[in-house]
Structures are given as structure tokens and as C-alpha cells.
Symmetry: C2
Subunit: 385 residues, 2 copies
């Protein structure tokens, strides 16, 4: 790969949402050009930030080929593409793709992901591929009701997940998730946990950087807030960081990766989900750490040395600002949040707001975690988008 | 003006260089769309960052009119445009322009600028408009040789400035600067100074924010480095900040402004130059302060509340990375600089490098000013661009 600090170097993003947008901003700071391939018909966040924009389908190598040839390196902001497609795209275009199709293959659906990390000695929540109806009942009896049914591929923010309380529920959910059409459906035991934790890892041929262990606060399977560092013991934080690095190494990851853990009531860490890309749990790193997850994403895929993940202040809180209306996007009543010293608003430039849609986030730095978190909530609770 | 946090809000930049580029990056973080009007034939830094790009002349209101109508607010990154043109553009497009044509008029050439600030009680270096050849000799006799001849409009980075040692020199320089063609030429006494200082001020209807007083290190009239806070007494720092605020108020400035001072050998501050835009002396604020000059530029012209200028660490050094070759731009041997914790490289995405051209900069945060400055120099001295 040529020197990424050349004026004609182009990084290509497959996906044009806020994760690619915040990464693109970091590519620009290195003087790198940005190209984007979107699979959506409507205008997406990155498309306002570059003259190099193409639309098409992630299933169609042909439609991605010209785009890929114009890029010096390609990266992704979601998992909605098959590793075989990625591999073919890389082969036919000659353009490197990071994370690599090989890394991608090891986590590209929830079943393979769990097998990969289990094989690497990383504890995961108990799970089972549902191969026949009877499995639905037996899994509940064995691991307890309620449990989770998940489509193996394509879920996010709670989509593709169903909580089932009994056999009838389970059969209904199995059908809803496409189990009868042959989609792979996974049963997953409910973990009895005290905290949901997350760790980001950046890694490439120059080395690796592990971010602090943070806590994600979830409502209805959507991350609504993040606190960093997580209010758990240093020992647990350290364990989570070690597991995250081990998981990154298990897939020979090059790029930025996020790992979500349950801290169970009996003090054990279980890997819940992984993401081969910047992650909502790491948005706080933009102002919270010396080098953000987005900057290290760009550095990692471009082969640049990685930057420090050290925190700037003692504590950070990040609040997701979800759409409060269905309307053309406009952020209202954000004055206090913007005025606050150490407070930082990020809006994603989405054209339409929808109730519950991730539209923006707010980061507040402070000295005391709970105080900072409470203040951030107070500053953002009146915001309407 | 409509809410700048609307998804279809567009900020327009007149000028497409690195100052507009770094401001545009901050507009994006608020979800604001960016449009750019360039007066250069070649591809300029901002043009890689937006699909909304137009080229033309700053002298031609007609060619800027469609551009202006598509913007919700317009701002500038240089002074190479007449206030009358700006005023006509605002009138015909109906689009607000900040800093306003009225503010602009008060500083639009070096003569008017000095008169404005003098009238506001701000000490400036002794100067005189050269109206006839004899003035060249008399000014030298009165204020001492050598002195400076400056074209009143359009100079930057030493272009448009000539140091003259005697009457013969002065006549030659006067001619070179266009004095015989009727260009206004200003004589300016050499100030005997110990430090060159700079202060940025952001101001709009919500209030104002004054940045720390920093030191600019100049070589051949080009800023090569900045140290912040400046290694001068707190009293001098405070005085410089007060003068900078006073100067901003004198022109009823809305936007971001920079003021450069001489600290004379007898401990007095003289205002040297002002800029109604982000300034090289404030690049260190990107990582050095809670809110950068670029973010406050965007906030100020969009009418948003301003952010804190408090420093993140005790000391910051910023090194300008000037072109070392005439070639397609590529940054080499920057590995150590990039790897350094607390070190931050910014490259402007210029296509061509020229010897001495401002191509990139490097910021290092630390605890001790001289140590940080020396380390930053050491980390960047091998970089070739």
C-alpha cells in the first residue's frame, strides 16, 4: 500500500452512516481523501462530506468494482456484507480491505462468532443453533426462561432479537425471525449481570492499542449512554481489556474492534457481541481519549502507527441523542449542553429524524463519574431532535 | 437565521484552503453542510470535503450569487475580498455574512486597520501612508532604518512586505510593491521586541471567548511555531488578552479573530496585525483547548453559544510543517511524530507541495513549555513534505 500521507490517497468506506462519517473526519485531518459507497437510496451522512460518492448494493461486486478500484484501501462501518463478497471485491479490484475478509469470516454471523471466540478460550454466553422446533423448548428448560432468540446474521440495536418466555413465544419468534425460511436462528441464555461493559481495540502491523473498559447503559437493547471508565473494579477492567485483545488477536484483526461483555452477578465476564468497526460504546473517545476510536480506525487500516488511548480527564459520560420526533432533523433546546465547558455535541447530519433513531450524541468530561453522568443527563434531557 | 442544527443548514466558505478546511471539519461535527467557493483554478483542500463546490472570482458578485443563495450563512478564510463586494453579495443574496462587511470595512487594509485600532485606544506600531517619494526618506530618518514597507491590501506570510535599509532600498521596494501604480503603500517602523504574541477571540451575540496568549515564532515573516501559553509574565498575557477583546469590540466582530502583538524591549504591547478569521497562531487550540478556534469560528458565525478556551494541559507547542520539496504532496518520515502520545499531525490535503508552503502542522501537548517545544522540534525536524 502506498504512503497514506500522499495527497492522492483515497480511503473508501462501505457504508455511509455516522460511524463512517466520524471516521472520515479523521481521515481528512491526515489529508486523506474519502470515497463512500452507500447501499441506501436516501442521502446518508458521509455523502455530504465528499465529492466521491457511489450508491449500489452490498450484494453486487460488479457495482462496487469501479468504486473499489479508485480506493487505495477499503474499510467498513457495518457487518451487512458477506465475507465472500468482500473477498471477491478485493481480488477483482486489487484493493486491500481491512478488516480483511479472513477476519470478517471468523465473526460474520453470531454462530461463527461464538465458535471463534470459544475456541480462543474466551467465555461466551451459553448458546445453541436451533435446528428443529424441539430445540426451542429444550433450550429454555436447560438454560432457563426467558431466553433470547437471535437471527445469526444482520441484527443490530435489538433488531433481529426476540426475548421468549415460553415454548409458544419461542415458536412465534422463531417464525418471525425467519427460522422457517431457513435463516439460522440462535438461542442464547439470559446472563444474570450487574453491568454491561465494552472495550475497543485498535490493531495493525505496527502494534495494538486497548481502550479503557467502559460501561454501556442499555434500554430496549439500544445503548443510551456510556460511562468511562466503567464503575467496576480495576481487576475486572483489566480482565475485560485482556479478553478484548485476545479476541482481536483470535481473528487477526486489523482495524478498530469493539467487544461487549456481561459482568455476571457472580463476577465473571462473558463476551456478548463483537463489532469489526468503530462502535457506539467508543464515541466518548473523541474528546475523552488522546486518540479517538475513529482516528485509530483510520490509522489502523492505513497502516499508520496507532495513537494513545489514554483518557484526557478522570471521567467521561456519553449520552446518545435519539430521535424524539418523526420530522426533518433539527436539534432543539441544546443551548445549555453546547454552552457547558467540557461538553461536546456531535450531530450526524442525517436528513430525517425518527423516534429512537441515533441522530447525535453528547459527551461530557469531568472528574467524578456519577456526577459527570448525572450532569450529562440533566443537560441533554430537554433536547428534542 | 434558521437553527444551524437543522439537517439542511449550509455554511458557505469563501476560500477553500486549510483554514476553511479545518473550520469545515467542525461544521460537520455539528451536522452542518458545507459549501465552498474557491477563487483558485487548482483543487483546493475543502473541495475534497464536499459535493457543494463552486469556482470563480472574488471580484465578481454575479459568479458568487448562486453560491451565496444556497448558503444559510457565509464566512471567509482570508482578507482578499473587498467589503463593498461582500456588502453587495449579502444584499443581493439575502444571506448573512460574518464577519460582517461592516466589520470587514474597518480592517480591510493595513491603513484603515491601524486607524481603527488607534482610534479605539490600542497602541500600534508607528506607521505612515507614503504619499510621495520624499516620505520614504523622511520616515526612515524619523523612525530609524531599517523599516518596513507594506502594501496596504493583500499581503500575507511576508508577501507584500519589504524591509528597507536606506532611501535607495525604499524607492526600489516602493516600486516593487506597486506604489508607482497607485497602490497604497505603508511605512511601518521596526519594533524592537523580545516576543511576538498572538491572541484569538471568538465573539457573537451570545458573548465572547478569549484564548490564551501564545507566542509565535517567526522566520522570514512566516510563522514556523507557536508556544502556548506564551513564556511572558501573566500580566503581559492578561494585557494582550484585554487588547485583543477591545480590538474585537472596536470592529463589532462576529466570528473568530486573531491579533498579533509585539512585546517591545521596554515591556509594551503594540498591535501588529489582525485577522478576521482562524489564524495559524491558533492551530494549537485543536487539541490544546477544550474548544478549538475552528469550532468557535463555526459556532460564532452560526449564532451558537461559544465553547471554553481553557487549555487541556499546561503547555502546547505547534510546529508548522512547510513544504521541503516541489512535488506531489506526500509526508515522509512522520512515524515518530505520529507515534508520540500527545502528538497530533494535521495535513491539509493540498495536492502540490512547494518549498516553504504551509502543508501540515504538528501539535504536541505537555507539562513544561520549553521541553514540549524542544521535543516537538525534534520529532518533526526529519519530516519531508
Amino acid at each position: 500500500m502506498k504512503n497514506p500521507l500522499s495527497s492522492d490517497f483515497v480511503i473508501g468506506f462501505l457504508g455511509a452512516g455516522q460511524l463512517a462519517r466520524m471516521s472520515a473526519l479523521q481521515a481528512f485531518r491526515f489529508g486523506i481523501q474519502v470515497a463512500v459507497f452507500s447501499d441506501r437510496p436516501e442521502s446518508e451522512p458521509v455523502q455530504f462530506m465528499t465529492p466521491h460518492s457511489v450508491s449500489g448494493s452490498f450484494d453486487d461486486v460488479e457495482s462496487m468494482l469501479d468504486f473499489a478500484k479508485k480506493c487505495d484501501v477499503i474499510t467498513l462501518e457495518n457487518e451487512f456484507i458477506d465475507s465472500t463478497i468482500l473477498e471477491e471485491l478485493r481480488k477483482r479490484s486489487g484493493t486491500p480491505i481491512f478488516p480483511s475478509p479472513e477476519s470478517f469470516r471468523l465473526i460474520e454471523n453470531k454462530l461463527i462468532e461464538k465458535q471463534t471466540f470459544e475456541a480462543a478460550g474466551i467465555p461466551v454466553t451459553p448458546y445453541q443453533l436451533i435446528s428443529k422446533k424441539e430445540d426451542l423448548f429444550q433450550f429454555g428448560e436447560e438454560h432457563g426462561w426467558p431466553y433470547l432468540l437471535k437471527s445469526s446474521k444482520g441484527g443490530y440495536d435489538g433488531y433481529g432479537n426476540e426475548t421468549v418466555k415460553n415454548a409458544e413465544d419461542a415458536e412465534h419468534a422463531f417464525k418471525k425471525l425467519g427460522g422457517e425460511k431457513g435463516h439460522d436462528i440462535l438461542a442464547e441464555a439470559f446472563a444474570d449481570f450487574t453491568h454491561e461493559l465494552a472495550v475497543q481495540v485498535a490493531r495493525n502491523e505496527t502494534g495494538y492499542v486497548v481502550y479503557p473498559c467502559c460501561e454501556t447503559v442499555q434500554k430496549n437493547h439500544i445503548c443510551v449512554a456510556v460511562k468511562s471508565p466503567a464503575p467496576v473494579s480495576e481487576e475486572i477492567q483489566q480482565q475485560a481489556k485482556e479478553l478484548a485483545l485476545k479476541a482481536t488477536e483470535a481473528i487477526d484483526g486489523k482495524g478498530i474492534f469493539a467487544f461487549e461483555f456481561f459482568l455476571t452477578t457472580d463476577g465473571k465476564l462473558l463476551l456478548n457481541e463483537s463489532a469489526p468497526r468503530p462502535h457506539n460504546s467508543g464515541h466518548y473517545t473523541i474528546e475523552g481519549c488522546i486518540t479517538s476510536q475513529f482516528e485509530n480506525h483510520v490509522r489502523a487500516v492505513c497502516g499508520l502507527p496507532l495513537g494513545s488511548s489514554e483518557m484526557i480527564k478522570q471521567a467521561v459520560a456519553m449520552i446518545n441523542l435519539l430521535g424524539t420526533h418523526n420530522r426533518n432533523a433539527v436539534t432543539e433546546h441544546a443551548g445549555s449542553a453546547i454552552s457547558e465547558a467540557n461538553g461536546h455535541l456531535h450531530s450526524y447530519g442525517k436528513i430525517s429524524s425518527k423516534k429512537g433513531r441515533k441522530m447525535a450524541h453528547y459527551t461530557l468530561l469531568g472528574d467524578d463519574l456519577e456526577e459527570t453522568y448525572n450532569r450529562a443527563i440533566q443537560l441533554t434531557e430537554g433536547i428534542e431532535i
